[in-house]
Every structure is written in structure tokens, then in C-alpha cells.
């Protein structure tokens, strides 16, 4: 067999909600007979939507790393922390936690933006190489992306706890918002991307 049979070549659609395989009907807006979700041959405007979300995330990655995420005011001094300086503070008390935060907050978002960029670019160029690897890269990125929220949660707890006005006072910086936006945008970017586009270029 020269050409592998695909859903498209056999006239079959797969429901992305309940994974039922359905014979494609010539209707303007087909729906899954089992769960009534919309059926698509491919997710609509997938490449453009993913690329747009990814560009926004890449731009916001800069303020997320350079703006302070947290201000600490104590009776002795005022401090401001970026994500990176927060990691350095943690390094003094517990290095495994510092490494964890470094990976989750700095490495993972960057890796996610770069990997999605590679995947989108290769689909746009219709590259036939390393498809299995790119497919696995995409799924891994989708899985680890959520861990970047780690620092946002840590900051939200510090803000809630350290409100002892006479001694210490912690407030949120705009960097935290930019950072959370990067996580949300990359999550949506991964969700709007249709993996099947990776397999469309002729091998």
C-alpha cells in the first residue's frame, strides 16, 4: 500500500470530544451523532489562531521576566522581586525548590513557546521530516505547560499571608499578570492547534 488510509481519504470524521468515528456527511455544520459536538475535518483557522496566540505569548514573555512580580515592604527595607531574583532568594534556603521553580517558571514557558513555534513553522513550510518527533514534542508541551503557574500560586499565597502591617507587607507586581497571561495564551495556543496538520505534507 503506497498511501496510508486516513480519515480524510476514507471520508470519515473523528469527534474530538468523544472520539467516535463518524462517516462524513455533506452537511454545512455536521454534528457528532453520539455527543452532538461539532465535527471538523480540521479545526477551523488552526494555524493562524495558534500563530497569533503564540506571538502574543512570546511578546509578553519579556515583561513577565523583567517586571517585578512581587514587592516586599518590611520595617527594614523595601524589596522587589522578579521571577529570577525570587529563584535566587530560594537558592539560599532550599536548592531543590529553587531548581524546581527555575524549571517551572523560566525553562518551561520558554520551551513551550519555542516548541510550538517550531511545530507551527514546520507545518507552515509543509516540512515532511521528523513528524513523529514533532508530534510527540507537541503532546509533551501540552502536558507540562500547566506547571508554569507554580510561581503565580506561590505569590498569591504570600500576598494573602504576609499582611502584617507593622512588620511586613507583600503586594503583587504587574510581572505576575504578564506571566499568567503567557501561561494562558500558550495553553490556548496548544488547544487551537490541530495536530493532524503535521501529517498532511506528502512524505
Amino acid at each position: 500500500m503506497s498511501e496510508a488510509p486516513t480519515g480524510r481519504s476514507l471520508g470519515l470524521l473523528v469527534c474530538l470530544q468523544c472520539r467516535a468515528t463518524v462517516r462524513a456527511l455533506q452537511l454545512p455544520h455536521p454534528r457528532c451523532p453520539r455527543c452532538y459536538a461539532h465535527l471538523f475535518q480540521r479545526k477551523p483557522h488552526s494555524l493562524a489562531a495558534t500563530a497569533a496566540l503564540l506571538v502574543c505569548a512570546a511578546i509578553l514573555y519579556i515583561p513577565a521576566n523583567f517586571l517585578p512580580v512581587m514587592y516586599t515592604r518590611t520595617i527594614f527595607d523595601d524589596e522587589q522581586d522578579t521571577i529570577m531574583s525570587g529563584v535566587l532568594v530560594l537558592l539560599q534556603s532550599s536548592w531543590p525548590i529553587a531548581v524546581l521553580v527555575f524549571i517551572a517558571s523560566i525553562v518551561v514557558p520558554l520551551l513551550k513557546i519555542l516548541s510550538l513555534g517550531v511545530v507551527v513553522f514546520s507545518v507552515w513550510r509543509r516540512s515532511p521530516r521528523y513528524r513523529t518527533q514533532r508530534s510527540e514534542l507537541f503532546r509533551m508541551v501540552e502536558f507540562i505547560g500547566r506547571w508554569s503557574m507554580l510561581d503565580v500560586y506561590a505569590i498569591s499565597l504570600l500576598v494573602a499571608l504576609v499582611q502584617i502591617r507593622s512588620l511586613a507587607f507583600v503586594s503583587v507586581g504587574w510581572g505576575a499578570l504578564a506571566f499568567a497571561a503567557v501561561v494562558v495564551l500558550t495553553t490556548f495556543a496548544a488547544r487551537t492547534f490541530d495536530e493532524r496538520l503535521l501529517w498532511e505534507a506528502p512524505p
Binding site: 480519515g7 474530538l16 453520539r34 530560594l90 503557574m149 510561581d151 503565580v152 498569591s156 504576609v162 495536530e195
Partner: protein
Amino acid sequence: MSSVIVCPSCDLAHRVGMAPASVGTRCSRCRAPLQRPENGNIDTAIALAICALVLFFLSNAYPLVTIQVNGTTRATTLLGAALGLYAQGHAGLAALVFTTTVVGPFLQIASLLYLLFPLRSAREAPGQNTIFRLLAQVRPWTFVEVFMLGVLVALVRLSAYARVVPGVALWSCGLLMLTLAALTSRTTPGQFWRWVDRNRT
């Protein structure tokens, strides 16, 4: 007799036997999981959901952590984390934290209970399809396990300056994390629709 299923990740068509898979299968081209093993007893799923609901209420009712500095004590709850952000004028950030730690888990547990109870006695809950699709939208936004690690990071940062006392909610939240993971793996879309199909035929 065999039927054809299509891989949702690469569109490759596969011929499969009619017997339900006892082991998981992967797509032969892109290695994405194709069929998950059938490990589904609906009673187990309902039990896990009830357990998760109890743990969810415990996690919200009791303080998560308490800190003591120079005789001053301060505690926070799960909701307090989101409220603190809101009080400082970061409504967007507060909404995100609130959605991923409170609304997400609650909707997931409540909608599963609503769907599974009727299904158990071979009926279908009104609006079943819509609610299951809503559940699929909510699921990726439940970050309880990430939140737990975030609590740990915050405690390590604070332990240098204050005495930190873990609260009841910290333990129940940890158990909620495990229960939710078990519940999610037992109520995958494939499994859920298998229960529905079993009733319909």
C-alpha cells in the same frame, strides 16, 4: 468482524477488533494513545467523586496555612489566596487563581456526579451531552496539583522569617489532588461514552 477508528492526532485510519481493549493501544504512526484500557466500574467513579466533593468542602472550609511572627498570627484559606489578589486590584489574576483552584475542581466534581448517578441506573441526565462537553472544556483548567506545589514554594520562602503551621485544608487539598487524578483517569471521554453506549444498546 472489525470496525475502523480514526486517530484524532494524525487522522490515520485503524482497523480494530470489536472486542473491548483490555490493554491500551497507540497509533501506529504518531504514537498517540488511541484506545485506553477499560478499567471502568461506574461505582468506583461515583465513590471517587463523592470522596472528592467532601475533600473539596474541607479544603475550602479550613485554613490552608497559618503563620506566626512575633506573636502575630495570620491564616489563609484557599479562597483567601484569590481574594488577596483581588483586594490589591488584580482582578484578572484573582479570577484566574479562583477559576483554576475553586471553580474548576468544583464544576468537574459536580458535573460528574450529575452525569454518573442517572447513568448508573441506565438513565441519562437531562442535557448530558452539553454538560459532558462543558466538562471537557473545564478539565484542562483544573490546576490543584500545581497549586499544591505552589503552597510548598511559598512555605519554604516564609519558613526563614516566620513559624509556619500547616492547616487542615493543606492535607485535604493534597488528598483532593490524588482523588481528582484517580477520578479523571477513570472518567476519560472514551470510558464515559462506553458507559452511555452500553445503556443505549
